[in-house]
Symmetry: C2
Subunit: 198 residues, 2 copies
């Protein structure tokens, strides 16, 4: 029985959405992927409503088992981070209203899970997403590929040997693939108290 | 005909909500005020849903003409600003779904409008809010008073002689009260391109 994961890369201009079915043997299949959003010249309330209506429609249509959202850090570009945070709050509430559990993952965790390196660039992430999902080319734009990567990373988390939903994987666990070890290290780094979590 | 304004001081632990009726002669009457939110030990999705359900219920109950929300700046405390931004996105969408226009005001603008000084402390704001609304004492906690101050400031904006909704009040306009001049100056400062707006 596959786990249906909706991945969300939040944003006001380009909010990436991807639905991926992940089987216990880690085989992942893309169900749908898109990018929604509005141009920055629109009023903020209209922009946020567009995100809300898009995610509501997606959750009703695809009824995912879980939502994986990129964790927003306040150290990012100050001109866009507030809108990104507002969009993330909206998509999380949309899931919560439907009883869909929400998991937050850092970009580093996701890159590590998908490529084996937490420092992978966008091209490398897109290439691996295409390979994993058996696509001819990466979903475009990058926000769509990032949403798919989030969904894959979360779906694999439960399937990874030795991993636990509570995030207690130790970096030295035996039986982990290089990607799993890289992800565990990234998770451990994200747990350090110096890194703001929300 | 009074303008019914709902003021929102967004936050996850304490989200201030106030409904104020403002008459054309600037007389302002408190309809209701409260603080909603959850403790930081609760899961983020549960916390955001609590804010969403509270604001939905308030907007359905009080049917305000307009929502005034505190503009969130990313320079604030990084440990709380992301949650504050997420909460603000949720309340703005709740208004947008109902066709209620949303106005954003900076804390400096609100302090200036209510007290005559953009640098007023919380005690001064609370004291003036109580005086304006003819209350025996300020709404508590401070988040409740701040929400009421937002509603008053927005309601007065339309009523202020020489002011325009587009924010084109010049700091030197004649016929303005000291509070109106202070607000105009605060607005002008907020329009400077070096200040991130969202």
């Amino acid at each position: 029985m596959a786990l249906r994961v909706v991945g969300v890369d939040p944003g006001l201009t380009r909010c990436g959405l991807a639905v991926v079915d992940v089987e216990p043997n880690r085989r992942a299949t893309l169900v749908d992927v898109t990018v929604v959003g509005t141009t920055p010249d629109r009023p903020l309330d209209e922009r946020l409503l567009a995100i809300a209506e898009a995610i509501d429609a997606w959750l009703d249509r695809f009824t995912p088992d879980v939502m994986a959202v990129e964790r927003v850090f306040s150290q990012l570009n100050v001109s866009t981070v507030m809108g990104t945070a507002q969009a993330s709050g909206i998509v999380i509430v949309s899931a919560a209203r439907r009883g869909i559990p929400v998991a937050l993952h850092t970009p580093t965790e996701v890159k590590a899970a998908v490529t084996g390196s937490g420092q992978a660039d966008k091209a490398a992430v897109g290439k691996m997403v295409a390979k994993i999902l058996r696509l001819d080319e990466p979903p475009r734009p990058a926000d769509a590929a990032d949403a798919a990567a989030l969904a894959i990373a979360h779906g694999w988390r439960g399937a990874a040997p030795g991993s636990q939903a509570s995030g207690t994987v130790s970096a030295g666990s035996s039986g982990l693939t290089p990607a799993q070890r890289a992800w565990a290290a990234a998770e451990a780094a994200a747990r350090r108290p110096t890194a703001p979590r929300r």
